[in-house]
Amino acid sequence: MPTRPVAVLIVDDQAFFRSAAQAVLAVMPGFAAVGEACSGEEAVARVEELAPELVLMDIHLPGISGIEATRRIRSAHPGTEVMLLSTYRAEDLPGGARECGAIAYLHKEDFEPEVLERIWAERAPS
């Protein structure tokens, strides 16, 4: 049994979705939001600073994309997992989304506590 919740960094340029993700994580005892970032560059810096176990990463961001930010995070901090979260349909995902090192891609409309828990349980290293 994990005694400590999974530390999560929320990355989205829209305040509404950052707040929405905070609201979802607030009802999940196994996860805890430890910080937020509004851009890919800020996400990389915040991972350096906070060492979260999971990053919920939007794809479309100002500056470097969520995909490039994921590459950088995974390269510098292999212990931090990234889940891409966006409004692209799976078939329209931008190039690199599947190879950037993210453990999963999830449409924002499909993001629910059970789904996050399942992906984390199935994909995260034990």
Partner: protein, 221 residues
């Protein structure tokens, strides 16, 4: 008096985000939160809302539930307002939503949710009987309209449109005459006028007939 609001949204993330926003706002009393069309209808009937804030696509069909719920609200609680939230600007849904008037109606794109003030303003405006239409939605409506105006089919009279529609359904001139209570000769005159307006040069009639039907069907799709 706070504004009594029902929220209906099937996306967990959006629903919880909006719920959090509205619950933190003293001017709003969030009286029900729904995840599908059926529960929204129950809430409309029982929760005495001033405003319904709803997604368009929800279970069970994932198509136009929000638009239909707005119609239902107009019947049972005509003074209540509706803020329709949509992922994309869709002229067909916007027209259906606004066909009986824009009073107390707002159509916002979900990307506007980032601006809490804008969402709250829309709720206040529709509660007071006003209207807010997202500029992007207006743009798509104008674009759809100008496309329709440019179409040669827009040159047809309503009667000619009716005739062409029946031809497209495979009716002969005699059958069209029968359906519209016209003489066959009158139908022929309509058809010749349709050919002229659609710029179909004189050729074999069957050929022109097929082209006219193809034009008609292309616009329908």
């Amino acid at each position: 008096m706070p504004i009594r609001v029902i929220l209906a949204e099937d996306s967990y993330l959006v629903r919880e985000g909006v719920r959090r926003l509205l619950e933190s706002e003293p001017a709003i009393d969030l009286v029900a939160v729904c995840e599908d069309y059926d529960s929204l209808l129950v809430a409309i009937a029982s929760a005495e809302p001033d405003v319904v804030l709803t997604d368009i696509r929800m279970p069970p069909t994932g198509t136009d539930e929000g638009v239909r719920a707005a119609e239902r609200l107009r019947e049972v609680r005509p003074a209540a307002g509706v803020v329709l939230l949509s992922q994309y600007a869709d002229p067909a849904y916007a027209l259906a939503f606004l066909q009986h008037g824009t009073q107390g109606r707002a159509y916002l794109l979900k990307e506007r949710l980032s601006d809490l003030d804008q969402l709250l303003a829309a709720i206040r405006v529709v509660a007071g009987g006003g209207s807010v239409i997202d500029p992007k939605v207006v743009e798509t409506l104008v674009a759809a309209r100008s496309l329709a105006t440019q179409s040669p089919l827009s040159r047809l009279t309503p009667r000619e449109h009716e005739v062409l529609s029946l031809i497209a359904q495979g009716n002969s001139n005699a059958a069209v005459a029968d359906r519209l209570v016209l003489s066959e000769r009158a139908v022929e005159k309509h058809i010749n006028s349709i050919f002229a307006k659609l710029d179909l040069p004189e050729a074999r009639d069957a050929h022109r007939r097929v082209k006219a039907v193809l034009l008609f069907l292309a616009e329908q799709s």
